[in-house]
Every structure is written in C-alpha cells, then in structure tokens.
C-alpha cells in the first residue's frame, strides 16, 4: 500500500483519495488518519493534493427561478424550442445576387419569386436578424413541387409540411418535414443535405429519396432511389439508448415503428414508394387504416365507417393512376364488399 502514493499525482489520480476529500465518510476518515500516522513523511504531499482538489472551481451562473417556471410552462404545453432550426444568421448582403445566379429555369425563377415575396423585411436591416424559415404546407388533396435555393427539388405530398431556411448555410442544408416528400438532392459533397422529421433524420450528399413521416402514422419510412443516405432514428436521444444510425443503398428502404420501436429493412418497389408524385396510388398488402388514410390525404375527404367490427384483416393490393375517388372506391368495394356514398367531403362506408 505504502509505495502506491509517492507524488502529488498519485494522490490526485486515486479514486479513494479524492472521494475522501470531496465527501468524507467516517470509515475513510479513520483510514486516512491511520495512514498518515504510519506515513508521516507523506503529510505535506497529501495535504497539497487535498488542497488542490478542494480548490478546483468551475464558473458558476446564478440560479434563475423565472427561467425554471418559464421552461416548465413550455414543457407542459409541449412547446418545443426553436433551437434546431430557428437559429440566427448573419443576414446575407448579396442574397439577390446569389438568387439570380441560381435562377436557371423558369420553375426555379418562380420559386424564387415566391421566396422574395415571403421576405417582408425592409431592404436595409440590422446586421443580425432572426431568419424565419419558409413554410410550405399542402392541405389534403393537393401536391406541389418546390425547388430549393441549392437547386434540389422537393415533391411535397398532400397533407404535408416542409420548413426551408431562406438561405442554406455554407456547411449544411437543413429542411424540416412532417408528412411525405420525395427529394432529388443537388450534388454538393461539402454540404450535407439533412431532412429532419419528428422521429428520423436523413443525411444525404447528392441523391434521391423518399421520406414518409406523418405524425399520426404508426411508422416512419425512408426509401432511397439513388445515391446513398444516412438515416438516424433521433427518437433515441431522449433516452440513454444510443442513437441509431443506418445507411441505405439504392432501392432499399427502412421503416421504424413508433409503437414497438421495431425496425424493418428491405427493398421496395419503386412505383410503390415514389409513384405518388406521378399520380399513382399504390396499395400493397395495405390494412384498412392504411387505405383510408391514403385516400383521405389524396382526395381531401373524411371517412365515416359503419359496422367497423365487421372488417376482417385487410391485405389490399392495387394501383390507380389519376383516377377519381368514385372509381377508386368502386374498385375497392368490389373486392372488399362494402357500400359507400360520397357527399361533398365525406365518404360513408357501410360494411
């Protein structure tokens, strides 16, 4: 034991010693006074080590009771912070120049007009401003195409919302999605493109992929058509469990269940996942709920289901191309045997 402690460093690095200094127990107290008695020559070095440990300080900030109440209020209202997207940025002085540099196609020019119209600040603004992101939201029944400032293209599905910063930073391109969108990302290896959703985060360099992340759905799905992406299951960060990272190859998809956290990886049918942007509705082994949800979003209708208990387990597969709702329902009802009635935005289904 004796030769264990020679220099100050030996004391400083010793778990038992520092524990005694910081939080002395009666046993430790007894042990160390006995130790000192049998090692009187170590007295000075021991007390030097003790003093150093006791003197180490870290800058303190004053407590803030108001902050505690304010944050608790936000927690109970479930207001998430804006830290991830609403960051302040130095206002780019040459934003118009940059804009026109990119304006290569008519579609793009239109989008830029939209961007500029959204910009309500006066021409001269203070150096640092809170740059509010652009929010593009489709109601049920409407799809849209958006060209981003970096020339990447987004097909935004119905009932979906995307947040885009007014200008991407020099180091990373971040957009925030809830709902479904297909991304064709402009190649820029120095500037990763990140799609953030409630549950997953997809990082890409130059590639095309589909993200399906409706908040009310039971799972989130990412499917890659070309290139390579990294998918992170960000739900993990609330817990001690490590964040999950996955890489996808072309035609691979990954699906995270929100119910049991299970993960499903596989290859997908291209039309099934990305067909929606060409006007195809695909069903493959779809449950009743999946069919209803998809139709609600696609046609902006609500379903009323009568005699729901009579529904057995559905595994419905079919495809429709630019078909109206009545024809789609006729086709499904023929197979699944139900009656339906369409009135304005309400569809009543009777089993």
């Amino acid at each position: 034991m004796r030769e264990k402690y020679i220099n100050v460093e030996d004391f400083l690095a010793d778990e038992e010693f520092k524990k005694w200094v910081i939080n002395p127990s009666p046993q430790a107290q007894q042990y160390w006074s006995a130790w000192l008695k049998s090692n009187p020559d170590k007295r000075e070095v021991l007390f030097l080590a003790k003093e150093i440990i006791e003197s180490i300080e870290f800058e303190k900030i004053p407590q803030d009771v108001d902050a505690s109440d304010k944050v608790l209020d936000n927690i109970l209202k479930e207001n998430k912070s804006k830290s991830l997207l609403g960051y302040s940025e130095k206002r780019p002085s040459s934003v118009r120049l940059n804009v026109f540099k990119f304006a290569a196609s008519a579609v793009l020019a239109m989008v830029m007009v939209y961007l500029l119209l959204q910009k309500k600040e006066p021409a001269e603004v203070p150096q640092v401003v809170e740059v509010k992101p652009i929010i593009k939201e489709n109601p049920k029944g409407r799809k849209s195409t958006i060209v981003l400032p970096d020339n990447s293209v987004v097909w935004l599905n119905a009932d979906s919302k995307i947040e885009i910063p007014r200008k991407f930073s020099d180091t990373v391109r971040i957009v925030k999605l809830s709902g479904e969108a297909f991304f064709e990302v402009e190649k820029d290896p120095g500037r990763p493109f990140i799609v953030m959703t409630h549950d997953v985060e997809v990082t890409a360099l130059g590639t095309a992929f589909n993200v399906k992340a409706f908040e009310e759905d039971k799972h989130v799905e990412v499917a890659l058509t070309e290139g390579r992406v990294k998918v992170e299951h960000t739900k993990g960060i609330a817990t001690e469990e490590a964040e999950a990272e996955f890489f996808l190859d072309p035609l691979q998809s990954i699906r995270f269940s929100k119910i049991d956290n299970s993960i499903d990886r596989g290859f997908f049918d291209l039309r099934e996942v990305t067909g929606w942007k060409e006007g195809f509705i695909f069903f493959k082994d779809a449950s009743f709920e999946e069919v209803i949800h998809k139709l609600e979003r696609w046609y902006n209708v609500e379903f009323i289901v009568v005699n729901r208990h009579k529904i057995d387990e559905w595994k419905y597969s079919s495809q429709f191309h630019n078909e109206n709702l009545e024809n789609v329902l006729k086709s499904i009802s023929f197979v699944k045997e139900f009656k339906f009635k369409i009135e304005d935005n309400t569809v009543t289904i009777v089993f």
């Binding site: 400083l12 003197s55 800058e59 900030i61 944050v71 927690i75 830290s83 960060i237 609330a238």
Partner: protein, 211 residues
C-alpha cells in the same frame, strides 16, 4: 453502476428554490429512492415528473452551461428533453440515479444541438474556451498555506491550459465525484482506460506547476 454521489453545491434539494406544488413541499418524494421516484414517473405519475423537473432544473442548467458555454441553447435543450421524457415516459429505461440519467441525456442532446447550431457536421462542441471554465479558488488559498501564490498562479494557468475534454473529465472526477467507471459510461467511452488516461494526462500537465 455506483451511485452518482451528489456534491453539496449541486444537490437537487438545494437547487429547489421555490416550489408551489404541495407534493414537493410536503417532502413526499424527498424520502424516496431515485429508482422509486423514476418508476413512478415512468408509470405516468405527473407529480413525480414535476418533482424531478423542479429538483434538477437549476443543476441541469448549471451543468449545461459548463458543457455548452451558453444559456439559451441549454434552456431550450432542457425544455425539449423534458418534453420528450414526458412523451416517452413508458418507454424509458430504469435508473438508480436520476441525476446521472438526466445529465447524460442532456449532454447527448447538447452535442446534437451544438452540431446543428454550428452547422458543421464535424464540430461537436461550442468554442472550447467557453466550456468548463476552470480555476483555482482564491478563498481556499487564504485559509491554507500549502501552496504559495507563485505556485498558485502557475497551477491556475496549467488548469486553464487543459483541453476542453480534459477539463470536462476533471469536472466529473473532482466536482461531481464520479468514479472512472462512471466517467467511462457518462462520456460514452469504450473502456475504462480512456477515462483514466484522460484524467492522468490532465494531472500530468499540472506536473510542472507542482514541482
């Protein structure tokens, strides 16, 4: 894993400043083990959730400040952390130390938020010199006379010259009284020697000031 021993400076009960909630004031939770309080929260007990928040907000805020070097981001991160904890309460794992659990979750989240804020995928922290601002306390040296003022200055400077990573480890080791095993777990190291080496190297850098 051993218990994450609380330092008086950061003890949750001291951090509890003003609590309007009766169940907190009547001390019902204060006499319970961490594991029990945590389980109540996991089972959906709202007052356990409020108690945990009230008990740890100030110390989490202080710890987050050490780690990130700023306040706003830390308060945002604490807010989002508790929202997610609350939403996912049924899916959380058990713990014997709520403090360890919360600190580690906050640290993980801050790394994540800082990455986004810095807008680079590679930089995972705030500017190094803003984090874990360390010094040798002056008051301590008025009372004790082991270290004369010349050596004190040198030591103080040597501490300030440590890397951010080393200062962080020093904080856990001497300030939060963690063991090497706990530091390994807390900082997500693969093995305990990484934790040891970090402390050893820090102490090694102080050597010249000590001789």
């Amino acid at each position: 894993m051993g218990k994450f021993v609380l330092n008086d400076n950061t003890a949750p009960i001291n951090a509890e400043v003003a609590s309007p909630k009766q169940h907190v004031e009547n001390g019902y939770f204060e006499n319970l083990e961490d594991a029990v309080i945590w389980d109540k929260f996991r089972a959906g007990d709202k007052s356990a959730f409020i108690f945990i928040y009230k008990s740890y907000f100030q110390s989490l805020r202080q710890y987050g400040y050490h780690f990130a070097g700023g306040i706003q981001l830390v308060e945002d991160a604490i807010q989002d952390l508790f929202i997610d904890l609350n939403r996912n309460h049924q899916r959380l794992s058990a713990t014997n130390s709520i403090k360890f659990y919360l600190y580690k979750s906050l640290r993980r989240r801050l790394i994540y938020y800082l990455e986004r804020q810095n807008k680079t995928m590679r930089v995972a922290r705030a500017a190094d010199d803003l984090t874990f601002k360390i010094s040798l306390s002056v008051e301590q040296f008025i009372i004790n006379r082991q270290i004369e003022s010349e050596r004190r200055k040198k030591l103080d400077q040597a501490l300030k010259n440590l890397t951010a990573h080393q200062r962080e480890a020093i904080y856990y080791f001497y300030y939060e009284n963690m063991t090497y095993a706990e530091i390994k777990e807390f900082m997500d190291f693969k093995n305990i020697n990484s934790a040891r080496n970090l402390i050893y190297r820090a102490i090694d850098s102080l050597k010249s000031a000590l001789r």
